[in-house]
């Protein structure tokens, strides 16, 4: 008996078969089916659900339908998971195309009660499980399906299994599997959806998607949601790859206007532009957590740098301060300690080494109490970087540091291995024993180089390969060699010039003196912007917090567009390097052709 309910914003709604009554005072009425916005839904059908604030619809199986005494209509949905949602627990399982996972087990997230209006459309989910109790779908049906599933995801044990027990979340298993009439019904539903859902199966391009969005601009809100659902699904099909990334970019523009008009009407419409990354919300959550964690450590960081107006220069000088301090302090486990030193020492802003050494001793004592966890080798490397930028007089400082070191108990076994190389390079550069060797094979190791030098020049040396970075040539390796004396180095260089030491693959070894680039005192880093602060203190706090943590940018902010510019620049520079290296390689090849012997 059809039961006319009040029309909801001109969306047609009709109750279907009644099922029974229940609840307090028998005021709750259960139903077996209903018609909503032209689609007929029955119990155990699957539908798309739009949860407020989510960018992608959920897929759920309707397991209960009822109307409350206050005329509110509710459905209970048993959820399906997208592979992306459970990818942390997928491990090596490779999900098929269009595969989703049924929720089972005990715990949060298996099912929810939603207002009926959250339903955004019918979804054809076919069960492809080979279980005997499951009516097997034909090839055609599998192809026509929006999604398939044959595995379950247990929300309690976080396990994936393809065995379905006798009941799932209180629902008898026969309702989980395909129902006999179901396939036929969903076929008609598809046809009725007038190709909106069909479009995505052909793999739309971005422009088509835009059209869908703009076409629906004037339509009723529900239809709009379907369009966004369709486009969201298109994204699913394309996958989270480069294409999705690009389409994100292009989506920002067209979908923003429709969405802004939407906001004023229905509340459950997606507010942001269509973006399939649920990880962003997850990342945001983690960020707030991480924010709290690092807030403490970075609060001091920010404090040190927030003394004056937030100009880059200040930061650089603070940086420099930190670097000088780091040289002395050798048991600092994190920048935190240096910053506390910086706060101490910043008042003076002097670079007197003795004064800093005192402060550093104080600071390092403080550090011992704070519990930071970074690996011990990292200690050495932190020092490595700081040592780069300092002018010389390292010997004197070394003596001081060794004193300081004795006062603290740290495990220096790894640390000594790494630190002296940097140090040695510095001294060697000054004394003239440092030689840069080029045109080696990139796969050589440091020991190879040392060995080679000793055999070729009959001289002993200490060598390290220069590590490959973004701007290193991929076919030619470099190494630094420190000879025993200036004379040795000079002799080696002379010999290399006069004669040629040919390595395998017809490469002559090229040697040159010392460090090419002069280490600059102020490290300039472009691209981190700040707003000058003349605002009250409260905003400063926020700004401080914002700068001292990491986050993924959302597509609807200015910083996202700026980030796009940077990424473009990065890509461009990558291409430039590729081209340059290719050009070099060709030049070398050309030259090798002239090689007469062998």
């Amino acid at each position: 008996m059809p039961h006319l309910a009040r029309t909801d914003n001109e969306v047609e709604f009709l109750w279907g078969k009644k099922r029974g009554v229940g609840g307090k005072n028998r005021g709750v009425r259960f139903y077996e089916s209903f018609t909503y916005d032209g689609d007929e839904y029955s119990l155990y059908d699957c539908a798309y659900f739009y949860k407020e604030g989510m960018k992608e619809p959920y897929i759920g199986k309707i397991v209960k339908i009822w109307e409350q005494p206050d005329r509110k209509k509710k459905v209970k949905a048993l959820w399906f998971f997208h592979p992306m949602e459970i990818r942390n627990w997928l491990n090596d399982y490779q999900p098929l195309e269009k595969e989703i996972f049924l929720a089972t087990g005990e715990g949060k997230g298996i099912s929810n009660i939603n207002p009926l209006e959250a339903i955004a459309g019918k979804c054809n989910v076919v069960c492809s499980s080979t279980d005997q109790r499951n009516p097997q779908p034909s090839e055609e049906e599998l192809k026509m399906a929006d999604y398939i599933f044959h595995c379950t995801f247990d929300v309690g044990t976080l396990n994936i299994s393809d065995k379905i027990g006798d009941s799932v979340a209180g629902i008898e298993v026969s309702f989980i599997f395909n129902q006999k009439g179901q396939i036929a019904k969903s076929a008609t539903a598809d046809v009725r959806a007038n190709g909106k859902l069909k479009i995505e199966n052909n793999g739309t391009t971005v422009s088509e998607k835009d059209q869908i969005l703009s076409d629906k601009l004037d339509d009723r809100p529900l239809k709009k949601m379907k369009a966004t659902v369709a486009s969201a699904k298109v994204k699913d099909d394309i996958g989270l790859g480069e294409s999705a990334y690009n389409s994100n970019k292009e989506d920002v523009k067209p979908s923003n206007p429709p969405d802004s008009s939407e906001e004023k009407t229905k509340t459950r419409i997606v507010k942001d532009s269509v973006c399939p990354e649920k990880e962003t919300s997850k990342l945001k959550v983690d960020d707030t957590r991480a924010q709290k964690l690092s807030c403490n450590s970075d609060a001091v960081d920010g404090k040190a740098s927030n003394e004056k107006a937030k100009t880059r220069i200040v930061k650089d000088s603070v940086c420099l301060e930190k670097e000088t301090l780091k040289l002395k302090v050798d048991d600092t486990r994190a920048r935190l300690s240096c910053n506390s030193d910086a706060v101490d020492g910043q008042a003076s802003h002097k670079k007197e080494k003795t004064r800093i050494a005192e402060d550093s001793v104080k600071g390092s004592v403080k550090v011992k109490k704070t519990d930071e966890q970074s690996s011990r080798p990292s200690n050495g490397t932190l020092l490595k970087s700081s040592l780069d930028r300092l002018p010389s007089k390292t010997e004197k400082l070394l003596n001081q540091t060794s004193e300081v070191a004795k006062k603290q108990e740290i495990d220096k076994s790894n640390w000594f291995k790494q630190e002296p190389w940097e140090d040695k390079m510095k001294t060697a550069a000054e004394e003239g024993t440092l030689v840069l060797l080029q045109n080696l094979d990139p796969s050589n190791t440091s020991k190879d180089v040392e060995d080679l030098i000793s055999r070729a020049f009959q001289k002993k040396c200490d060598a390290r390969m220069v590590r490959w970075t973004t701007f290193s040539s991929p076919y030619s390796g470099r190494a630094f060699a420190i000879f025993k004396s200036k004379k040795d180095a000079a002799e080696a260089l002379m010999k290399l010039e006069k004669h040629s030491l040919i390595l395998p693959n017809k490469r002559p070894l090229v040697g040159s003196q010392g460090l090419q680039g002069m280490p600059e005192l102020h490290r300039k880093f472009f691209g981190h912007l700040f707003i000058d602060k003349f605002r009250p203190v409260m905003q400063r706090e926020e700004m401080k917090k914002a700068v001292s943590t990491s986050h993924c940018s959302q597509p609807n902010t200015i910083e996202y567009e700026m980030a796009m510019d940077w990424e473009f620049l990065q890509e461009k520079s990558k291409e430039q390097w590729k081209a340059l290296n290719k050009g070099h390689e060709n030049e070398v090849k050309q030259l090798k052709k002239h090689w007469k012997m062998k």
Partner: protein, 201 residues
């Protein structure tokens, strides 16, 4: 002899495994500390080890590079994919970091084959190929010069972009500030009343 080659192979295998689960991160600001990186990357999984790659060849204004070792190759892959999809910013906006797969040459401590010796030979001025060798040496020098020039040019581009963004950001900020000020001191309300416009939003 056998044992040393065995250990070498084992080392190689371990090293390969390590390379597979390490990512190379660059475009980081000098302010970024290891702790920040660890927290940032722990969203993708467990971070085992972080190492700074210091740069001696070129001038020190290049952005920082780090090697971050994750727990397994899957986590490394998810880091790369996620940062490719959405710009990930650490310790400042809006310059995003760049993450790539690590290569063996990026590591400082590669396993060393115990018996391997690099063959070589000397060529004197009387040798037939001496000229070619000299030419090659000159070529190498020229190429390094070209490389450092490219680097300098890229830094200039970066600076220009940063300045452009700075200007854009400041102008936007002023605009918002202005709007906020107007809202705050009621002049907007006054104007609305005057023009009889409804200020609902």
């Amino acid at each position: 002899m056998a044992t040393s080659s065995e250990t070498f192979e084992k080392e190689c295998a371990e090293f390969e495994a390590k390379v597979k689960r390490t990512v190379f991160v660059d475009n980081l600001s000098p302010q970024v500390t290891k702790k920040v990186i660890e927290t940032a990357f722990s969203q993708f999984g467990t971070v085992l080890f972080i190492e700074l790659i210091s740069n001696h060849i070129e001038s020190n204004s290049t952005p920082m590079c780090y090697l971050v070792e994750m727990e397994n190759p899957n986590q490394a892959r998810s880091v790369i994919e996620d940062t490719r999809n959405l710009p990930f910013m650490i310790c400042g906006m809006p310059r995003p970091i760049r993450v790539q797969k690590a290569k063996a040459e990026m590591f400082g401590d590669r396993p060393h084959a115990p018996d391997r010796k690099i063959p070589f030979h000397w060529i004197g001025p009387n040798d037939a190929d001496f000229e070619v060798a000299q030419e090659m040496k000159r070529l190498v020098k020229r190429q390094t010069a070209e490389a450092s020039l490219l680097l300098k040019m890229q830094m200039v581009e970066e600076r220009k972009l940063a300045e452009k963004h700075d200007v854009m950001l400041k102008s936007n900020y002023q605009k918002y500030q202005m709007i906020e000020d107007i809202l705050n001191d009621g002049s907007l309300r006054r104007l609305a009343r005057q023009y009889k416009i409804n200020l609902s939003d």
